[in-house]
């Protein structure tokens, strides 16, 4: 394809700098338009659904501790290896989380940890204001993460007993391959049938292979 990068100007347009004048007319017009920027600390943006912000450990309303069962899936899946868990095995095989560390500065906010979590314990909240002057205060310990959860619940006025975020569920997986604790109602584009690309779209008919019962209508 022939691309004409330099449009032809006639002599008159060159002499009177018509292109520069056009550009200047545009900037002058823009000067009287409304600025599109947000005055941040005064007006804050409401995060979109599925926003991945500050890390937290969901608090189990029954025990008061974290829901985490120390299955180590998040540690395994984390691409930047920023999660570290220390646990103790009780009699009967149940694991007790002694410490759960997340280095927020290494985290890339991919959200894999919350997707693989079978009990919805490690989550990325909708909070985004947690900067600090030192690294230590964004190297979250178990207590910090539980505190983050409390702050999230308090600031967004959610009920900790019932709050559930559909975006903690992995995208485009059939229902039976999702851990029981994560089978939640999700928006349609989060299911196999709703995927703009992928398996169901390559097949004529476009039916999902199985179970999209979790679709929110």
């Amino acid at each position: 394809m022939l691309v004409n990068y330099k449009p032809q100007r006639n002599l008159l347009e060159t002499v009177f700098l018509v292109e520069i004048l056009k550009g200047m007319a545009l900037t002058l017009k823009r000067m009287f338009s409304r600025p599109i920027t947000r005055q941040y600390p005064d007006e804050k943006q409401e995060p979109f659904p599925g926003f991945r912000g500050m890390h937290a450990l969901a608090r189990d309303p029954r025990t008061g501790g974290p829901r985490c069962v120390a299955c180590m899936r998040c540690v395994t899946v984390c691409p930047s290896r920023c999660i570290r868990i220390r646990y103790r095995e009780q009699e009967g095989g149940a694991r007790l989380v002694e410490n759960y560390e997340i280095e927020a500065l290494r985290c890339i906010y991919c959200g894999y940890c919350e997707e693989v979590c079978p009990v919805g314990a490690v989550v990325l909240t909708e909070l985004y204001e947690y900067c600090s002057y030192d690294r230590e205060s964004v190297h979250f310990s178990r207590e910090d993460l539980l505190g983050n959860w409390d702050r999230f619940m308090a600031e967004k006025k959610y009920d900790p007993a019932t709050y559930i975020n559909p975006f903690w569920r992995p995208r485009g997986l059939p229902e039976e391959r999702i851990a029981a604790g994560n089978r939640r109602k999700v928006p349609r584009e989060w299911t196999i049938a709703g995927q703009p690309v992928g398996r169901c779209h390559r097949r004529p008919g476009g039916q999902a292979e199985s179970g999209d019962q979790g679709v929110e209508e």
């Binding site: 520069i20 550009g23 900037t27 002058l28 823009r30 600025p35 599109i36 920027t37």
Partner: protein, 322 residues
């Protein structure tokens, strides 16, 4: 008593010029912000009105770093040369009838001399910092000033021929009986060349090669910090104002308006000065930077021949009509 009066006038002039510099930076940021659909400074004071003062205080208390391998005397002298040359050229500008510190007969020549001297400061800063970026900035500034000084001088020759004087007050007085009280229309080509050369002389976009931020960090003042950097900054803005004043005096009729209104005598002068300052900022928010070879080509192959043609045309006009 006469000396005291003189010093008082100088102090008043410099204070007003410095206030103008401070708020020129504010208006530049605001105007460019709004042209880019942003808001510009908003946090310090209502609509960021105290921003220039905060900036001044900040630059005053910042650490003054002198590079270890820098040429110390040159490094220290460069910003002072720049600023004092620019301030000195304020002395010959007539802001209204009789409102001039030094009514020199070679006022225009004096301004040329001072703006060339200021570019010595730039070159010296580039060389004395002993850094590649500043050195490149200084070299570019030298080449640019040499090329555009010529076309600027030549573009004003037409005005000198029409007015028959180099004294700035007399140039303004001579424009009184021309069309709209300004030389803009008989000297349209001269004004065009002057505007381009003015942008190049003050190192403004699109000719800001000496301090090209995207390629040379900050050009000749890369190694400067704190108040020395602020001196360069002030020199640049005073330079802009001096050049704008020259434009107003030589082409736009100085303190004469197209019609008379009962306002203070410098009213028209200020209006025209601010219009040209706005034009500087408008151009800055619109145009990208010229490449080095394009700059040279424009300077030598377009601007100088155009200015010479203007002189020829003015000469013919004077012989035939006058």
């Amino acid at each position: 008593m006469h000396l005291f009066w003189m010093i008082l006038q100088i102090v008043i002039l410099i204070t007003i010029a410095m206030l103008h510099v401070a708020y020129a930076t504010y208006f530049e940021r605001k105007i460019i912000g709004h042209m880019q659909v942003r808001m510009g400074p908003m946090r310090v004071g209502p609509h960021g009105l105290l921003q220039p003062i905060a900036d001044g205080i900040k630059s005053f208390f910042k650490e003054d770093i002198i590079p270890e391998c820098a040429d110390r005397p040159g490094f220290l002298a460069a910003p002072v040369i720049c600023l004092s040359a620019m301030i000195a050229s304020l002395a010959v500008l007539p802001f209204a009838a009789g409102w001039v510190l030094a009514d020199l007969n070679i006022g225009l020549l004096f301004i040329f001399a001072m703006s060339s001297l200021a570019s010595y400061g730039v070159i010296l800063a580039g060389w004395a910092s002993n850094s590649k970026y500043t050195f490149l900035g200084g070299m570019r500034s030298m080449a640019q000033v040499i090329s555009y000084e010529i076309s600027m001088g030549l573009s004003l020759v037409g005005v000198m021929m029409l007015a028959g004087s180099l004294n700035l007050s007399e140039i303004v007085a001579a424009q009184g009986d021309s069309f709209f009280g300004m030389y803009l229309f008989p000297q349209a080509i001269g004004f065009f060349v002057f505007v381009v050369a003015m942008l190049a002389e003050t190192n403004r976009v699109p000719f800001d090669l000496p301090e090209a931020e995207t390629e040379l960090v900050s050009g000749y003042c890369t190694e400067y910090s704190g108040f020395r950097y602020a001196l360069f900054f002030m020199a640049e803005y005073i330079g802009m104002m001096v050049m704008a004043s020259i434009g107003v005096i030589c082409f736009l009729g100085g303190w004469h308006g197209p019609f008379s209104i009962p306002f203070p005598p410098f009213f028209w002068f200020m209006i025209k000065l601010y219009a040209i300052m706005f034009f500087f900022m408008w151009i800055r928010s619109t145009l990208p930077r010229y490449r080095y070879d394009q700059l040279m080509e424009l300077g030598w192959k377009v601007m100088i021949p155009l200015a010479l043609f203007n002189i020829l045309l003015t000469g013919l006009f004077k012989t035939v009509v006058g």
